[in-house]
């Protein structure tokens, strides 16, 4: 028992560098594994719609008729469920968060028609 037990830490902290980053002067370092945001490679997508069925947050919509893949960035919870389930591996999880916004962002990607290979 005693008083001012935190004295040692307080004194040593006075001579140490701060534990926090001077944001935004010093930007955040992203880890390789960080789940930031989902991106699609439209060339590979076959509009099967499995990603939208596997999304627990209903953030993905696949419109076969209009050939579009839509993601509601505000609803997406970065769970990697779509990336794991994509049969063509055309979805990837990038390690950077999307930039802050004041409006709801809905990204729509047009999927090009596949040209059949001539035999």
């Amino acid at each position: 028992m005693g008083s001012f037990k935190i004295g040692g830490i307080v004194l040593s902290s006075a001579f140490k560098r701060p534990s926090t980053r001077l944001y935004p002067t010093v930007p955040r370092k992203w880890q390789d594994n960080t789940r930031g945001h989902v991106e699609i490679d439209p060339e590979q997508c076959i509009l099967c719609g499995i990603c939208s069925k596997k999304c627990p947050a209903d953030a993905l919509t696949v419109d076969k008729a209009a050939r579009t893949w839509t993601i509601d960035r505000m609803s997406c919870v970065q769970c990697r469920s779509c990336v794991e389930s994509c049969p063509k591996q055309c979805l990837v999880m990038k390690n950077e968060y999307t930039s802050p916004n004041v409006k709801k962002v809905i990204d729509t990607v047009n999927i090009p028609e596949k040209v059949k290979k001539e035999e």
């Binding site: 935190i6 919870v77 999880m93």
Partner: protein, 360 residues
């Protein structure tokens, strides 16, 4: 006899980390009765089992709580694996034990910080959270998420953690241990901290047994109901022994949590030494059959209870979680009776309430 007054405490209060409302019936400075009410953060996560299949539900279940998210996904996965009779690979079980104990360290450090903040010890609060940050960094580096890990799936883990990363975790924890000793020593030895906690909020063994309190709250009064003594995880192989204190006051509950942090570090180091090579998941085929299953797991706040009921389709009939705080609210009401108003924050904090868990 003085005049009776009712003082509302919460849902927004500087001492409360989460919204719980207490109507404190006071006679002068003494609390005669406390009436709790919850329901501010209900989200209806259990209902989502009707529209998400049993595998996707794992992502929903880990969002029950932001602090013990890994434990919730493990508990749900264990219940479904039991229902479907799936045997999880050895390495996955070891990885689950390691990550669950890391969650316990970060949860207890968060709690210690909040406790220091509740008694107005700002610098101690910041040092606890500074140490907790290194655990969150481990999570982000190895699994990709700082809080919600999305690391567990039915049948094992999503990916393997290489040997080098596990060794790195051990080095970080060993370095952290020295700093932890200094910080936790303030909680256990400092006069000003002890004056706030020693002899405050005494709970006898009988009270704990009668009202069914769990977790560190019960262990602070010498009642062992640690679910880690059961079969789930690799605790038995690692020679796990629960930590018990006998005083039953706020200080004893704090001491249990401090000792558990060091115990968790020892468990992780021992587990990393003994982890076998092999696959981390097995492919899951088929649907959950008719029937139900219960899994019990020791979360940082106490024992959580998972119930799943299958009906032969990919959608479960029911998934239910009984979280630790739910079981600790009766004991909170009991301990508040007869205490002084200035001790209420200490009482509420030492049961470690997690209201988002409780309401789901």
């Amino acid at each position: 006899m003085g005049k009776r007054t009712i003082v509302p405490f919460g849902p927004q209060h500087p001492a409360l980390p989460e919204p719980i409302h207490l109507d404190l019936e006071l006679e002068d400075e003494k609390v005669i009765r406390a009436v709790p009410s919850i329901g501010y953060v209900h989200r209806g996560l259990e209902k989502l089992v009707e529209q998400n299949d049993y595998q996707i539900m794992c992502y929903v279940m880990e969002r029950v709580c932001g602090i013990c998210s890994f434990g919730h996904s493990w508990g749900y996965a264990a219940a479904v694996e039991g229902l479907m009779d799936i045997e999880v690979p050895e390495r996955a079980e070891h990885l689950r034990t390691i990550f669950h104990e890391l969650s316990r360290i970060h949860s207890h450090l968060l709690w210690l910080g909040l406790l220091a903040d509740a008694m107005g010890f700002e610098s101690l609060f910041m040092h606890c959270w500074r140490l907790r940050e290194s655990i969150l960094d481990i999570f982000e580096k190895s699994t990709g998420g700082r809080v919600i890990l999305s690391f567990t799936k039915i049948g094992g883990q999503f990916k393997d953690i290489p040997k080098e990363s596990l060794a790195e975790i051990v080095i970080i924890l060993e370095n952290m241990r020295k700093e932890l000793l200094v910080v936790t020593n303030v909680f256990l030895d400092d006069t000003s901290v002890k004056n706030r906690m020693c002899g405050v909020g005494k709970l006898s063994k009988e009270d704990i047994m009668k009202l069914g309190a769990i977790g560190p709250t019960a262990r602070g009064s010498g009642v062992n109901n640690d679910a880690r003594c059961l079969d789930l995880g690799k605790y038995k192989e690692l020679g796990f022994k629960p930590i018990l204190e006998t005083d039953g006051d706020c200080y004893a509950r704090c001491k249990v949590r401090v000792r558990e942090i060091f115990q968790s570090i020892d468990i992780i180091i021992k587990d990393v030494e003994n982890i076998p090579e092999g696959p981390v998941n097995i492919p899951v085929k088929g649907m959950p059959p008719m029937g139900d299953f219960i899994a019990r797991i020791e979360q940082p706040r106490g024992e959580a209870f998972y119930y799943v009921k299958g009906n032969g389709t990919k959608y479960l009939d029911r998934a239910r979680v009984r979280t630790p705080t739910n079981a600790n609210i009766p004991i909170l009401v009991k301990v508040l009776q007869g205490c002084y108003l200035n001790d209420v924050t200490m009482m509420v904090m030492t049961i470690d309430p997690c209201i988002s868990c409780t309401e789901r």
